[in-house]
């Protein structure tokens, strides 16, 4: 492999970038004033990479030194990361108290007046651009910048060593940086319009990135599908914004959130429709139930793209938007009452998607598809959490609402970290298997149908890829919600609160509550199934024997994220992140007198909640997700490593454990009609295609025909008739002199009569 140890000295040019933030700090600049740098850096990097790439395509230094633009991208993302970390430190470490949000507006985009109903002209209104930072933004900003940086780091290794996209990587990095700009801009935007603008830019970049291997028919098709489905969502979001604008006369957060209910003047069902439309936009972007068809296909893009789009950033956009809806429904702080069913709808959509995605993930054999569906179901989790939060807010249960809102946001954090790492780990697995495959078949152009992503070919990789397997293990544990590891702290909160809502307040909430409970179990199964199929048992294909971990740049992000997923959950929970995210506290700190007491409180809160039925719920989730699911998966796919293969201690214990539960042949189950249906994604795609091809295309062809024949036909008819008419007239000139004389006399006499009549 080309990876030499001194690859990392390529990072030397990035050192000065690190000095930028301290320099700004010394120059006395406020942290939130520097926020525009986060968006500006990638925005400048985008054209530089494209132009440099186009000009220096193929020359050596560009390829090796600059990694075809990768280093420039990394630098830009480093700037954004450093500035966001700077803001984070200032806000978390109590240096700055912001009264909930900080607004600085940069430029006025377009200004105009509006004719009011009393025919007078309103004052000039402005669509400006500005920065809005509060706790949710901070968390999302950190997640986005941190993960973008790591994924860009990862793609230096993943993309540049792949021979197929030899001179095309500059396009990848340019689109990657543009995407990052879109995400950062969306998170920082201080009004809904600019949120929408960056939202659509992310849509464009997801189209470009998914369609990176544009010569592949399936990739181009997947890109188009992704863009169109998100576009449908965006259109509804736009309509929602229009309604909002009509209600509040402005889209600025500061104006709207100051008093969402306009002293009770706003009519609730118009606001309900606005929020519902925006929720449809969120569904489109975060691939929830009706508009989820594009996410599995989006795996056509290179793995860093899937990691970026389907773990870290884009899918969180939908959640961020729903999070932004909280002030509307927060009855406590002059929110608008009567919007309960919005929360219900959100929860139900979440529940359905979670259950559906988890069930489909059961039968997926492609490692990235499994992760895609797990993203969909985990996002659905957070949607359910937000749904119940909205419901609680609107119901006045302030404490429960803030808790579940904080928990879902925290779960978003954990999920992003874990899922980003899982995608990168799967990327490294695919990469290594692919390389091994190329090595084995040097003459390798007889395209045997070996698919590097198919888990059925893998197995027993634990011994060959120690770092990836441990990282994958920790990531899966965090997603499953194994106690004390990462996701457990937040997932358990969501389930408890939803059940609380279902049992005590709203019988209707029981639906999503049951669904997410089952999904918890199913997550346990398919995540561990994935891990066992790839890492435990004997290799199922000879190629797999030659796999070894050697590409540079890949291992570092895995290690960092593995650490964060493992410990991050517990530590942050200790520091009261849930309450911080929901705005209860101003900053992260030990709100308990001593560390030990805080730990006891957290543990007791997680495992022995005061409310008895919550305790039952809590324990059933742990039972389902941690014990039943993995055991069942181990029985089907588990198995000890082949002799002579040693894995790292933790992984070795797990693989040996997986072998102990005996094995059960699930072949007849996998042929059943249910799994057949699940294979075809419950035929959603089939029905959507059918609906489209039956209505849209024939109607378009008819319209084209109609236009050509009917409207054009009329014009042609007019022309042909006039020609016919001229022939008739021509026949009058007979050529006989006598007729001419006749006409002559008739003419003169008639003129004479006319004159005579007039004069007479």
């Amino acid at each position: 492999m080309s990876g030499s140890s001194n690859e990392y000295n390529l990072l030397l040019p990035l050192i000065p970038v690190l000095l930028l933030v301290p320099a700004l700090y010394i120059s006395g600049m406020e942290s939130y004033d520097a926020a525009f740098l986060i968006v500006l850096a990638p925005f400048i990097a985008f054209p530089t990479i494209i132009i440099a790439g186009q000009l220096y395509n193929g020359n050596e230094t560009w390829k090796n030194k600059m990694k075809e633009g990768g280093i420039i991208g990394l630098g830009a993302l480093l700037v954004s990361l450093s500035v966001s970390v700077w803001i984070l430190i200032e806000y978390l470490a109590e240096i700055h108290h912001f009264s909930g949000h900080q607004v600085t507006s940069w430029i006025e985009w377009i200004s105009f007046e509006v004719l009011q109903s009393d025919y007078t002209m309103s004052s000039t209104r402005v669509f400006g651009v500005g920065v809005w930072i509060d706790s949710v933004t901070l968390m999302l900003l950190f997640v986005a910048t941190f993960l973008c940086f790591l994924i860009c780091w990862f793609s230096l290794g993943y993309m540049n060593t792949d021979p197929i996209n030899e001179d095309r990587n500059h396009r990848f990095y340019a689109e990657f940086v543009l995407f990052a700009m879109g995400m950062f801009g969306m998170v920082l935007a201080d009004n809904f319009l600019w949120l929408f603008i960056f939202w659509e830019i992310m849509g464009l970049c997801s189209y470009l990135l998914i369609g990176f291997y544009f010569w592949k028919e399936s990739a181009a098709y997947a890109a188009k599908k992704a863009f169109l489905t998100t576009r449908v969502g965006d259109v509804f979001l736009m309509v929602g914004l229009l309604i909002l604008y009509d209600i509040y006369g402005s889209l600025e957060f500061s104006v709207i959130f100051a008093d969402p209910s306009l002293h009770g003047a706003v009519n609730s069902d118009k606001l309900f429709w606005a929020l519902l439309m925006m929720f449809v936009g969120a569904i489109g972007k975060s691939a929830q139930f009706p508009l989820h068809v594009w996410l599995p296909d989006a795996m056509e893009g290179p793995t860093p793209v899937s990691a970026l789009i389907h773990a870290a950033t884009m899918v969180n956009a939908g959640l961020y938007l729903v999070a932004r809806m909280v002030p509307f429904v927060d009855v406590g702080h002059h929110g608008v009452a009567g919007l309960e069913d919005l929360g219900l709808i959100v929860a139900y959509i979440g529940g359905i998607t979670a259950f559906m995605a988890a069930s489909i993930a059961f039968v997926q054999n492609d490692i990235k598809k499994v992760l895609a569906y797990s993203t969909m179901s985990q996002l659905a989790y957070i949607f359910t959490g937000l749904g119940s939060a909205l419901w609680f807010y609107n119901h006045g249960e302030h404490h429960a609402a803030t808790f579940v809102f904080g928990a879902s946001m925290f779960h978003l954090f954990n999920h992003a970290m874990a899922k980003g790492m899982l995608f990168m780990a799967s990327g490294s697995v695919i990469h290594e298997v692919h390389h091994a495959h190329d090595h084995l078949h040097e003459e390798g152009n007889e395209h045997d149908d070996f698919d590097p992503q198919d888990m059925r070919n893998m197995g027993g990789l634990a011994s060959k890829m120690p770092v990836t397997s441990t990282a994958m293990m920790i990531g899966s544990m965090s997603i499953i919600g194994v106690p004390l590891i990462g996701g457990f702290w937040s997932k358990e909160g969501i389930i408890a609160e939803t059940w609380l809502a279902a049992l005590e307040h709203e019988p209707l909430m029981i639906g999503p509550a049951i669904l997410i409970l089952l999904t918890a179990g199913m997550t346990g199964f398919y995540m561990s199934r994935m891990w066992f199929m790839t890492f435990a048992g004997e290799p199922k294909h000879d190629v797999v024997n030659h796999v070894h971990e050697s590409t540079p740049w890949i291992k570092e992000p895995l290690v960092i994220l593995a650490v964060i997923s493992a410990l991050g959950g517990f530590l942050l929970a200790l520091f009261g992140v849930i309450d911080y995210l929901s705005g209860e506290y101003d900053h992260l700190a030990l709100h308990k007198p001593s560390l030990l007491e805080a730990i006891v409180y957290e543990l007791e809160h997680a495992f022995l909640p005061k409310n008895p039925n919550l305790r039952i719920v809590g324990w059933t989730t742990i039972l389902l997700s941690f014990i039943i699911g993995p055991i069942f998966a181990a029985r089907v796919h588990g198995g000890k490593l082949a002799e002579g293969h040693r894995a790292s201690p933790m992984v070795a214990w797990l693989t040996s454990l997986s072998g102990m539960f005996g094995s059960q042949d699930a072949t007849e189950l996998s042929q059943s009609s249910l799994s057949e249906a699940l294979q075809n994604r419950l035929y959603f795609d089939y029905y959507y295609e059918l609906a489209l091809s039956k209505t849209v295309l024939p109607f378009a062809v008819f319209a084209a025909w109609f236009d050509k024949t009917v409207i054009d036909g009329i014009v042609k008819k007019v022309a042909s008739y006039s020609v016919l008419g001229s022939f008739q007239i021509r026949r009058v000139t007979t050529g006989r002199a006598s007729d001419y004389i006749l006409m002559l006399t008739v003419g003169t006499l008639s003129i004479f009569a006319l004159a005579w009549g007039v004069s007479g």
């Binding site: 000139t733 007979t734 050529g735 006749l742």
Partner: protein, 100 residues
Amino acid sequence: MIDPSWIAALGVILFGIGLLGTFYHKNAIVVLMCIELMLNAANLNFVAAASHYGDVDGWVFTAIAISIAAAEVAIGLAILLSLYSTQGTISLDGARELRN
């Protein structure tokens, strides 16, 4: 002295007959003659007016009209003869060149 209005009436009738003649005949010469007839009718009117108003100009006009009519006949016949030499016939239906 006869009442001039009657002479004018005669003129009009002669004019009418001459006019009809031009439609009826295929033979160019007869058409020419009918035109001569119409010209004469016109002269009658002139004379009627002259005698009615006692103004001599009427007669001058008639004299001029007569001489012009003479010139016109000469040229008409000349054209007819050349038509005759090219077409071989002077019937009006024969001449179809006007029709493109």
